[in-house]
């Protein structure tokens, strides 16, 4: 599903975030990217989201070479990847409903289907009934769940999340992780960057550990095949 083949990413500043990284993530898998900050977790996710381009190497996502995408093809590519951000990236002047509906509107979903699908996504993250609220009226954990609802509303085959629990207390963090687990159980490939080793160990999924932009260890999943 996602395959890094000798990926190197060097930023214009000269910093090498990833060095000759090769790894495979299978379709339907749920994996955690761990490592200290600066280890290259975020960069790996940015490459998957085609937010950054690799300097060297080949990245294949959904059977497509990400480096070979023409500019005009990027929007369609991104629509097949749900992205969750640590700072949620919600539009603060729009209601929760509008925020979650955004990917559907962009892909030209018929209006009459919108409400049904937006409510279904909000129901999955436990926020049904808050459609009319604005992001500022929600707690940080709730905002993160709105971000997740937005990422999954158009049913993308891949879900990536960068430190989704970074700002949450342990109970809320677990709740959010269990949410990802539920999406993974219905077949979504989930890649989460997180430094919360304790929480990750609790969940028992495969853990890809990065150090200085290189693969340190890759454990096997303990509770799931």
């Amino acid at each position: 599903m996602i395959s890094f083949n000798g990926i190197t990413k060097r930023y214009p500043s000269g910093r090498e975030a990833l060095s000759d990284l090769s790894l495979e993530i299978a379709a339907g898998e749920m994996v955690f990217l761990t490592g200290h900050s600066g280890a290259g977790k975020s960069t790996a996710l940015k490459l998957i989201g085609r937010i950054e381009l690799p300097t060297r190497g080949q990245l294949i996502v959904n059977g497509q070479s990400v480096g070979g995408l023409r500019n005009a093809m990027i929007p369609a590519y991104r629509r097949r990847i749900g992205m969750v951000f640590q700072d949620h990236k919600l539009l603060h002047d729009r209601s929760i409903w509008d925020n979650v509906a955004l990917p559907l509107i962009i892909s030209g979903t018929p209006r009459r289907e919108l409400d049904k699908r937006v409510r279904a996504a909000l129901d999955q993250v436990g926020l049904l009934g808050r459609e009319g609220s604005f992001p500022v009226e929600l707690s940080s954990g709730e905002q993160q769940r709105v971000g997740i609802a937005r990422a999954v509303v158009s049913k993308p085959p891949i879900l990536i999340a960068d430190e989704p629990t970074g700002n949450l207390d342990p109970d809320l963090a677990l709740e959010v992780m269990l949410l990802f687990k539920r999406f993974n159980e219905v077949g979504v490939t989930v890649v989460i960057a997180s430094h919360d080793v304790h929480l990750i160990d609790q969940l028992g999924y495969r853990r890809i550990s990065l150090t200085g932009g290189r693969l340190a260890t890759s454990t096997q999943s303990q509770v799931h095949a």
């Binding site: 937010i51 991104r78 990236k89 990917p103 962009i106 030209g108 018929p110 209006r111």
Partner: protein, 320 residues
């Protein structure tokens, strides 16, 4: 024939466009001061060339009502018999392009001259009438000064070819001069219009640019969730259309106010010269043309500047 899927797609497309159109208007009304400023500048910029065009339009219609000054005097040869005079008169009156032809016999002409010249006694001393029979020809009215002067020259040429016509006197010089002045004013209106349109383009472009800059985060989010450039650009293009429409309406209002303010005084001046001239505002065609061009300018300005700007906003520049 369109299949159902295509029709649905088009309907959906139209639906979203309509919604974006309304939403972008809503956004503008939420920043009333900035919007009013932009719309006001556009309005004033467009009102200037529009006023000049209305002025030259009125001047042309006024010129059309001064047809009397284009009369031709056709002098017949001296010493013609009455029969010869009426034969000449008949062939003059038959000429195409003539509205009226009035025959003045030598005796009547002398009487008239005696009355107006104040040389009564001196004229009485004359043994014979020195004046020829004259036909006063009024050409058919035309509103185009340039064409009038050409057709009058042609008419005069034809009249001179008629037997027993001695001389045709007319003055198209002033028509030509007047037409030339009007043409210069129109030309100035166009040049000014072109320059100020460029100004409008820049004003709208700059407004949109500031707007895009202020919504950088939103644009990044839209791109992150898969929004194409055309999707991201659309609300800004609609904002440009609204700015253009608003500016056009302000320009129309200003021009109408100007006409209204000048109507009374100019009417009195015209009345003092015995003219029924009335200052007219822009007609429907001109008004619609102004609105259409200002809407087009708004859209174009937004298009040029958002295209330039959106390329520089990519989510890669921020941390995810």
């Amino acid at each position: 024939m369109l299949n159902v899927g295509t029709t649905n797609k088009i309907l959906r497309f139209g639906e979203w466009h309509a919604q974006t159109l309304v939403a972008s208007l809503g956004r503008l009304t939420r920043a009333p001061f900035g919007t009013a400023l932009t719309v006001g500048i556009i309005g004033i910029a467009l009102a200037l060339p529009m006023s000049l065009e209305v002025f030259s339009m009125n001047a042309r219609s006024a010129a059309g009502s001064w047809q009397t000054a284009l009369d031709l005097s056709v002098y017949l040869k001296m010493g013609l018999s009455e029969k010869e005079v009426s034969a000449s008169y008949a062939s003059i009156a038959k000429q195409p392009g003539i509205a009226t032809a009035q025959l003045i016999m030598p005796a009547d002409a002398l009487k008239e001259f005696r009355r107006w010249s104040g040389l009564g006694i001196a004229i009485d001393e004359l043994k014979e009438n020195p004046l020829p029979a004259t036909v006063v020809v009024r050409p058919q009215p035309t509103h185009d000064g340039q064409a009038a002067s050409v057709s009058i020259n042609l008419l005069a040429h034809n009249l001179e070819a008629i037997p027993n016509v001695e001389h045709v006197r007319f003055d198209t010089g002033w028509v030509q001069r007047f037409t030339a002045i009007l043409d210069s004013i129109r030309r100035a209106a166009w040049v000014l219009g072109a320059l100020l349109s460029l100004g409008v383009l820049l004003v709208i472009g700059n407004t949109i640019r500031v707007d895009v800059e202020g919504r950088r985060n939103e644009i990044e989010v839209l791109k992150l969730v898969g929004g194409s450039n055309s999707f991201v650009r659309r609300p800004f293009l609609y904002a440009g259309i609204w700015y253009g429409l608003g500016g056009g309406l302000v320009a129309l209002t200003l021009v109408h106010a100007l006409v209204l303010a000048l109507k009374g005084p100019l009417g009195r001046v015209a009345a003092a010269y015995g003219s029924k001239f009335e200052l007219l505002g822009p007609n429907l065609g001109l008004s619609l043309a102004l609105l259409a061009s200002s809407v087009l300018l708004g859209w174009l300005g937004a298009w040029i500047f958002t295209n330039h700007q959106l390329r520089s906003i990519e989510p890669g520049q921020t941390q995810i």
